[in-house]
């Protein structure tokens, strides 16, 4: 399930649902720019995925309930 792709393709109201070509182009440009910046953050994701035992990390993260 890919939430963001579903949200991106399904305008919630009176937005760009009228098929305006320039709006679609701007959206694509924004996505491309975003992808470039996101790629710079992928290293952090890779480190997170390559880390030691995820289940152990989650167990160690148990907290006391707070306010």
């Amino acid at each position: 399930m890919r939430f963001l792709h579903r949200l991106n393709d399904q305008p919630q109201g009176n937005g760009s649902g009228d098929g305006d070509a320039s709006a679609d182009e701007r959206l694509q440009q924004a996505r491309a720019h975003g992808d470039q910046l996101l790629a710079a953050g992928d290293e952090a994701i890779q480190r997170a995925l390559a880390g030691s035992n995820s289940e152990a990390f989650l167990r160690a993260g148990r907290q006391q309930g707070g306010q």
Binding site: F3, Q10, G15, A30, L38, R47, G51, G61, Q67
Partner: protein
Amino acid sequence: MTMGRHSSPSLKGRALPKLCGADIELGNFIAGMDQHGGTGYEASRALLAEIQGLPVRQNFHGDNWYSTASTTPRASTGSLSGICANPSDWAWNPQDVNRRFLASNGGSAYIDLNHAELCIPEVMSAFDHVAAWHGMLRIVRGALDRANEGRSADRRIQVLVNNSDGQGNSYGSHLSFLIGRCTFDNIFRRKAHYQQFLASFQISSILLTGQGKVGSENGRPYTPYQISQRADFFETLQGIQTTCNRPIVNARDETLCGRSRANDPTAAARLHVIFFDSALAHGSCLFRVGPMQLILTLLELGLVNPRLILDDPLAALEHLSHDATLKARAELITGQRMTALELQCACLDEVKRHAARGVFQEVVPRADEIIALWEDTLNKFIAGDLMALAPRLDWVMKLMAIERAMEQRPELDWDSPEIKVIDHLYSSLDDDGLYRAYETCGFTEQLVSQETIDRFETHPPADTRAWTRAMLLRRAASDCVEVESVDWDRMTFKIRGRFAWPSYRSVNLADPLGFTEEQAQPIFDSCADFGDLLDGLESLSANEAIPSDAITVN
């Protein structure tokens, strides 16, 4: 029909300036150590030991008995009984320990239920709140680096700016707003629709303020990803409790403005808000505060639209939070069904309608900018432009990060522990933090500059009593005066008398809007003697804290 005094038009006034504070618990543990009950005790103390502040405690349990900063009301007190904040009504709170106030910026840090907790100094503007919060996070990052020096990789202290450990335990990210006593009583004692309106607004605002969470907790139905970290933990509409059976609208009545005058409709009060998620993205941070300042102003002025009230707030909260596609609808008392986006748009329309009449002037700083950003954000949701919102809102940014991870590792799904780890590491203050990585590479939207954040890390706000608090702490250090106790509205110093016999002097800082740099700087400049300085500041506190004609009674 007899008009009670609280309804008399002759008592109507303006709303109080919407001063704001925050007290935020952090998730803290020692990575690699799996022990019964977790490692919060060890991690929180190791972290706090690296944050310098005053007063200096000989032990962890030496807080002032009467300090409302580290006490809790006895069961019989609080707004529900109309009795508030006499010293004898407060009991030492053993879960709130070793509070120290920071001479750098007037904020504070302490341990609460084995969570390191940060309090930002009081600020006036939502933008200052963003800067002050990120300034405090920098202080904690520095403390974390020092606490981790010499630790092996499998024993590093981990600090997460989130609200849930994913194992059924939640911790809070609280806000405080200055409101009139009459407004407080209207919300909790007199006008049910005020409370319902406030709750309904808060619930729909998770669209802007949620941090996002993988999965569900506290016995709620399964969902792969939801908008709010805290939503699963709210179990009642209103109450004074904060650690269980959590209420959407918190009735804690602790003014932090001197002695509470519960039966005086012209007095000040504090609204304690436990609803929102912790935030890192500047937009999410700002939306926790700015729109609340606007909505509370409407409440203070009696401008409540009963058509924007949810029929079942608790059910709506779960329903709306659990649907990250934003299609879920909740029923209002009118029978109309709205999505979170539609309800937020309706609330914004209310705010804009009244803004045109100038009701926010001198009450909510930069109201026009808050409204513009709010509108721009909602328009982007309407247009389906989620990628444009990712740099601004935490739950969208986190969702984006997780879906990128799934693209890179197709074998992972929403139930994979690796995905839950990414959920947690999004808010990590260590080098592995995802938000930190996005901020470093320039992906995140900056609503306040790095220079402003720098300033709030090392300086108090100039326009609230936090300024005098910080300056007094600095002056006490330079004059070798011992700080006996510090509370939000009172500071006590141990001053050596003529024959070295100590005496204690206190200064009353009850007015959160007073003791600003403009008011107090001349006194600091002109008084070389610490005792004379306190005398001078007492002359400020002798003035009426908050003019009674500034407080709305409606």
